[in-house]
């Protein structure tokens, strides 16, 4: 069977079934980060993201921004769990024809974003490879009481996002800000019931929350913040790589969050019974099921 027949998520579920973990593992593969016991009040978080030339960036992209992105995507995963990133390892595969200057720029991109978020790059590995590939693994911490996962969304919870959606290929995917600060704020002040970062498309990543929480949802087209570069609603729902936060909060907390002046948190819909799956209410009042066209590797 070809990988494309099974599909990316089929493959991921296969992997999850194969793996056994011991009781120190609170959450293994299947959330934004792995969560393991650290001490009485704290969990440790682990995540890694591999970015590959020709898939996540082009050979012509600015190497400084490629380096920056390599770490930013993993920091966004730490944010999705409301954690604090601490240590990073960088595995770098570089084609032999590349110049030292090119690699220098990648390293500066990595260094600057690491400094910005007080992440220690503690090691890594460098290898020859045919195409540029960077895998950034990050270890972080989160207080037990602040941990957020994809599961936990409840019926009638309000769905919120940060930022705007669509048209990320115009360049935003190389320049986004991992929402670490916003995630910490949320976790401390209004404890969402579930959270994820939008890497593969708003519809697909909301789908992950709904799948993990065994729920459905209704989204309102008129409420979803569109980026200037967005083409149309399909693009808004499936563009991916916004690396914005997508989270659900109880109605009571939603009211407080909504009342906040100049809030960067925007409500876009609500959690429902599973039977509604993912429904979009269009501007004209008509409804339709959202078919997930987000990014898949296979």
């Amino acid at each position: 069977m070809r990988l494309s027949t099974l599909g990316e998520f089929g493959l991921i579920r296969k992997i999850q079934k194969l793996l056994k973990v011991d009781s120190s593992v609170i959450k293994g593969a299947g959330d934004d980060c792995a969560v393991v016991k650290l001490d009485r009040n704290t969990y440790q978080l682990f995540t890694c993201d591999m970015i590959v030339e020709g898939v996540d960036f082009t050979a012509q992209d600015n190497p400084y921004l490629i380096g920056r992105k390599a770490m930013a995507v993993s920091l966004s995963d730490i944010a999705a769990c409301a954690g604090i990133p601490r240590y990073a390892l960088i595995a770098l595969g570089v084609p032999a024809y590349r110049t030292v200057r090119f690699v220098d720029e990648i390293l500066k991109g990595l260094r600057d974003i690491a400094r910005r978020y007080k992440v220690n790059i503690v090691g890594g590995d460098i290898s020859r490879s045919q195409k540029l590939v960077i895998d950034c693994s990050v270890a972080g911490v989160v207080e037990k009481k602040y941990l957020l996962l994809r599961s936990g969304a409840k019926e009638k919870d309000i769905i919120f996002v940060t930022g705007s959606f669509g048209g990320t290929r115009a360049g935003k995917h190389l320049r986004f800000t991992p929402r670490l600060k916003e995630a910490r704020f949320l976790s401390r002040h209004c404890k969402p019931s579930a959270m994820i970062d939008v890497s593969d498309g708003l519809a697909q990543d909301l789908g992950h929350i709904l799948y993990a929480s065994d729920k459905g949802a209704i989204l309102y087209e008129s409420l979803i913040p569109k980026s200037r570069q967005a083409r149309d609603m399909e693009d808004v729902l499936s563009s991916g790589e916004e690396f914005e936060l997508l989270f659900t909060v109880s109605r009571k907390k939603a009211r407080a969050l909504y009342a906040k002046k100049n809030s960067c948190f925007k409500p876009i819909g609500e959690v429902t019974d599973k039977k509604y799956s993912l429904t979009l209410v269009r501007r004209d009042g008509t409804q339709g099921k959202v078919i997930d066209k987000g990014f898949r590797h296979f």
Copy 2:
């Protein structure tokens, strides 16, 4: 400047200079593992190794053994620091033409070696890529008193190895045993002054110990265990990927280690003043400087 002009180690030193770490980091890039504070008696270890098709294995190699190797190389780094591996993340880049069966075999290879050494695979990332690439990051722990590094070798210390050297391309590089058990034994019972695993060639990796410890060494050809597949002494010194332990111990402890029956630890030479750099005493009694021909990516 081309990467090949600067060379792999020039590049690594460049990376090390670029990075700043905070006081929680005991040892950053430049040893087998990064070492960070965990609690009063324990350090956490981090390491990652990326293996790439066409460099570390061929497209025709058995996928089960490729998966096994991907994790074994990182476990060998944990062994070199005398640590206990705990958690692993796997980033997998797979060409779209590969079959599900092929990926299944890789995963089984990873799973089996993880089980064997009680490592929890807690997550990862899967991506399309042109050539198969696997990055395995491992977090481990080590009691402060047992930690071993590359630095610390002292004049007159005896240099020991486990296993035999040379001819690894014949297949051993896919089937080696990470020396976790032996490393723990050593650390508890005879506390070496320095330790490393042989990934890039006996001469090159001994060079790392000597560089980090500011020392030289004399090796005796007649003492170095040759594998059956080894071609000649140059191959023995530069083959690499044996993933055996290479360590130095004081003379007093060396005597006890040498006296042990059926010991897998073999003395091969001694640590000297830096001025001797790395000298080989041949079977015929002549001496020569060892020129490092070990593996380099660039």
